[in-house]
């Protein structure tokens, strides 16, 4: 059993002109009023949605409803009612869901920024119970747009919902590849955090410590490559906050990034825990100054004046757009020490 497809390459025949639809009474959108702020619809869209309203009115769920909803979805993939009615129809008539997933591949690739295409996939995947091929499809869509919010949250849902070892297994190498393409891709960084720290079923303490160590090293290596990358600094902070490790443990590393120029590299042994800025680095790095100010602030009384000096330099020179914020930090820190 398969529904006739509403392939847009064939010549369009209006539903009003199709004999097999003659028994359905189309319902116009607005009766007896002149709506304010109306949309100018194409004749194809108006025709199909009139019939859709007619079908919904009588509650018909049949094979031909799949055809009708596909027509609408192809014209307007954000028509959530058509999607919803389509899904209910699929279930009601026990339609095979695998072909629906195949159709969904096309529709998703055509409109990857629409909530509904992704949610429909979720419903199908949940019903089908076979998540394995989905990662590859997801990756294909990410190739076209590596920051698509829906694509990423869908991937994360897939991992969390099915929580299968084989699904998680290759995520890190996958992210490595994306960050090699573009180290500033914040979506990939977020995904790295998700994979490393937010997998519910992972509660081995030794393993958790090893992960923290590994991720700290990773973040620092990427910061060294392109120091003015907020994504990497946010990630570094994220690891420390999450694992309750003080920022001061990274002071030796961060201090290298608050100087004015890259120091020439001698032949001395490279400190692998504290990679220095790349030769092309534009220093000082505002994110490093902010980080060091936090380190000083946390160290208490004597540290505050050093923190204030750093915040001052951000407010006046290195990050002037956020002047108000840096001044707020200064006021707060000074007020706190005053009370202590």
């Amino acid at each position: 059993m398969s529904a006739p497809t509403a392939d847009d390459t064939t010549e369009h025949v209006f539903y009003a002109e199709r004999p097999e639809w003659a028994d359905v009474v189309p319902v116009v959108q607005y009766e007896n009023i002149q709506p304010l702020a109306p949309i100018f619809y194409s004749p194809e869209y108006k025709d199909a949605t009139d019939y859709f309203r007619g079908v919904v009115k009588i509650g018909e769920k049949s094979l031909r409803v799949l055809q009708l909803t596909e027509t609408i979805i192809r014209l307007n993939p954000a028509h959530y009612s058509a999607w919803q009615y389509r899904y209910e129809t699929l279930i009601a008539i026990s339609a095979p869901l695998q072909p629906e997933l195949v159709l969904s591949n096309t529709l998703t690739k055509a409109s990857p920024k629409t909530y509904q295409v992704w949610h429909h996939r979720r419903l199908l995947l949940t019903a089908l119970g076979d998540p394995a091929p989905e990662l590859a499809f997801n990756e294909e869509v990410l190739k076209a747009d590596a920051k698509n919010y829906h694509t990423w949250s869908h991937r994360q849902w897939l991992l969390a919902h099915f929580d299968q070892e084989n699904l998680w297994a290759d995520e890190l190498p996958f992210i490595d590849g994306l960050l090699e393409d573009d180290v500033r891709n914040n979506s990939a960084w977020h995904h790295r955090f998700f994979v490393s720290f937010e997998r519910g079923s992972n509660d081995d303490k030794d393993e958790a410590e090893a992960i923290v160590k590994r991720e700290l090293a990773f973040a620092k290596e990427k910061i060294a490559l392109a120091p003015n990358n907020s994504s990497a600094w946010n990630y570094l902070r994220g690891i420390l906050d999450h694992s309750r490790v003080p920022y001061s443990t990274q002071a030796i590393f961060a201090r290298q990034y608050i100087v004015d120029t890259v120091e020439p590299r001698g032949n001395d042994i490279l400190d692998l825990e504290n990679p220095p800025p790349s030769e092309g680095a534009e220093l000082p790095c505002a994110a490093a100054i902010e980080f060091m100010a936090d380190v000083h602030e946390a160290s208490g009384n004597e540290g505050i004046s050093e923190a204030v000096e750093l915040w001052r330099s951000l407010a006046d020179t290195h990050d002037t757009i956020r002047k108000r914020y840096w001044e707020y930090r200064i006021r707060n820190a000074v007020a706190t020490t005053g009370k202590a």
């Binding site: 304010l36 949610h119 949250s153 977020h190 998700f194 392109a226 946010n234 994220g238 534009e282």
Partner: protein, 473 residues
């Protein structure tokens, strides 16, 4: 020229796009230092055309968002200080009431399924255009069915799906909470677990994601609730506003859900683009500035005031009485001495005025994009957030509470909290001439304070003390 974003001699796709955008934005700056003019007439024409003649065919993709097209247009009029004539108000009401679903809630158009987002946009549009009585819209909202429909969308983790068989996300929850507050249908059952869900959406960056994923162990919700998607301006606004709305109901015990306001503030301020990006806001780390985040992120700072995070030093804020008089009200001179917001309000206004306005009317993401209804509304609301300081006034809250008729409880709290938000006299800063001024909007609802008061007073059956505009010192 301001300093370009440093790329550390390591270009990637992100930095290439960034640099291109910086070039485009810099080209927008008029050489003579002018250009800080809000073209109100051009925007009005844009809005009137959409409202009266209708939206061109490319808006077909928003056929399921008809209430949004209405709300964006009506709210843009309100912020631009334009009243709608009675005939068009009635047409608006009649149109909106065609979207109400027989089983409760409003859909994206006639005959469409009820949806949380469509319901917010419909009810807020009615707050602007509607009135009590027959044909007025307000009393034709079926609140009983609306409430039952809301409860039918509730999930075990405290979240809500946006429609029957729909997805979960914090936009839907924000929309539900706003409507429930405006229409007086908040109950403990409705919001049970919702604050904890919101808190679980905060990411390591400090902003909020679209949703979190629940894990259940033996039918008990586990503490591990990973966020789906990275921190994002739109979701952050919705989550933060939801959090502020839910705050009166959150118990003060140790197990109560928490939001990290320190990290949230840090993320919000970092969303402001630098001088070379004209100080516009972006929606995610390492993405581009976009006019709509003027509201989603720029508007979020006011919400932080409700959580005690304020740029006004505590010493100046200690009094619960009238706000401290501060000099230099509307003058450009001396602004920097009196501005105590946490973001750069001047720069945000400049971004909207210089880059956000389309020469043919309407506002936009950034040049060379077209204007559209969505960006027009949120650029103007963002401009409003950058011009005015609207925050909860304890003094005003007490006045509202003093005239409350009925028993004390969550209803009284919801009402007086929502209406405690007040535009602080003497704290407005308008870039350009005084003609650039737009109305203040309520930070939680994105309605003017007058519209918020009107609809809430009706549904809570209360009267609100008359606000006497405070004289500027």
């Amino acid at each position: 020229m301001p300093r370009p974003t440093p790329i550390d001699a390591y270009p990637t796709k992100t930095s290439d796009l960034q640099i291109d955008t910086e070039d485009i934005l810099q080209e927008q700056i008029p050489p003579d230092g002018g250009g800080r003019v809000l073209h109100k007439n051009a925007h009005l024409q844009f809005l009137v055309r959409n409202l009266a003649q209708g939206f061109p065919a490319r808006y077909m993709s928003q056929d399921a968002s008809q209430p949004w097209l209405m709300f964006w247009t009506l709210q843009a009029f309100s912020t631009l200080q334009i009243a709608i004539d009675p005939d068009n108000k009635q047409r608006a009401i009649d149109t909106i009431m065609h979207w109400q679903h027989p089983d409760g809630g409003f859909g994206g158009g006639p005959g469409q399924a009820a949806h949380l987002l469509a319901t917010y946009a419909s009810v807020c549009s009615l707050a602007i255009a509607g009135r009590p009585g027959p044909e007025g819209g307000w009393d034709q909202i079926n609140r009983k069915k609306l409430y039952s429909w809301y409860m039918s969308l509730k999930q075990p983790d405290g979240s809500f799906i946006v429609s029957n068989c729909g997805e979960v996300d914090v936009r839907g929850i924000y929309c539900l909470l706003v409507v429930a507050h405006l229409l007086d249908i908040v109950t403990p059952e409705l919001i049970d677990g919702t604050a904890a869900f919101i808190a679980s959406c905060q990411t390591y960056e400090g902003g909020f994601s679209s949703a979190s994923h629940p894990h259940f162990v033996d039918n008990v919700l586990s503490a591990c609730r990973p966020s789906l998607g990275e921190a994002h301006g739109g979701y952050t606004f919705c989550a933060l506003a939801s959090w502020v709305l839910l705050r009166p109901y959150i118990p003060l015990d140790d197990d109560a859900p928490r939001v990290d306001t320190r990290r949230l503030l840090r993320w919000l301020v970092h969303m402001q683009g630098s001088e070379i990006e004209l100080g516009g806001f972006k929606g995610r780390t390492n993405k581009l500035v976009d006019g709509c985040y003027s509201w989603w992120v720029g508007g979020a700072f006011a919400l932080l005031e409700a959580l005690g995070v304020s740029g006004v030093p505590e010493s100046a804020r200690a009094s619960d009485e009238t706000p401290p008089p501060r000099p230099g009200t509307h003058a450009e001179d001396g602004w920097d001495d009196v501005d105590d917001s946490l973001f750069n309000r001047r720069a945000l206004q400049e971004y909207i005025l210089i880059a956000g306005q389309h020469p043919a009317g309407g506002l936009r993401d950034k040049p060379p994009k077209n204007a559209d209804a969505y960006h027009t509304a949120y650029c103007i609301s963002g401009l409003s957030a950058a011009q005015h300081r609207v925050c909860p006034s304890p003094a005003w809250r007490a006045e509202v509470r003093a005239v409350w008729k009925g028993e004390d409880g969550v209803r009284a709290a919801a009402f007086s909290e929502a209406l405690s938000w007040t535009e602080e006299a003497g704290a407005s800063h308008v870039v350009g001439s005084a003609a650039n001024r737009v109305n203040a909007t309520h930070p939680l609802f994105n309605l003017t304070i007058t519209h918020t008061e009107g609809i809430m007073a009706h549904f809570y059956k209360q009267s609100v003390p008359k606000r006497v505009p405070k004289r500027s010192p």
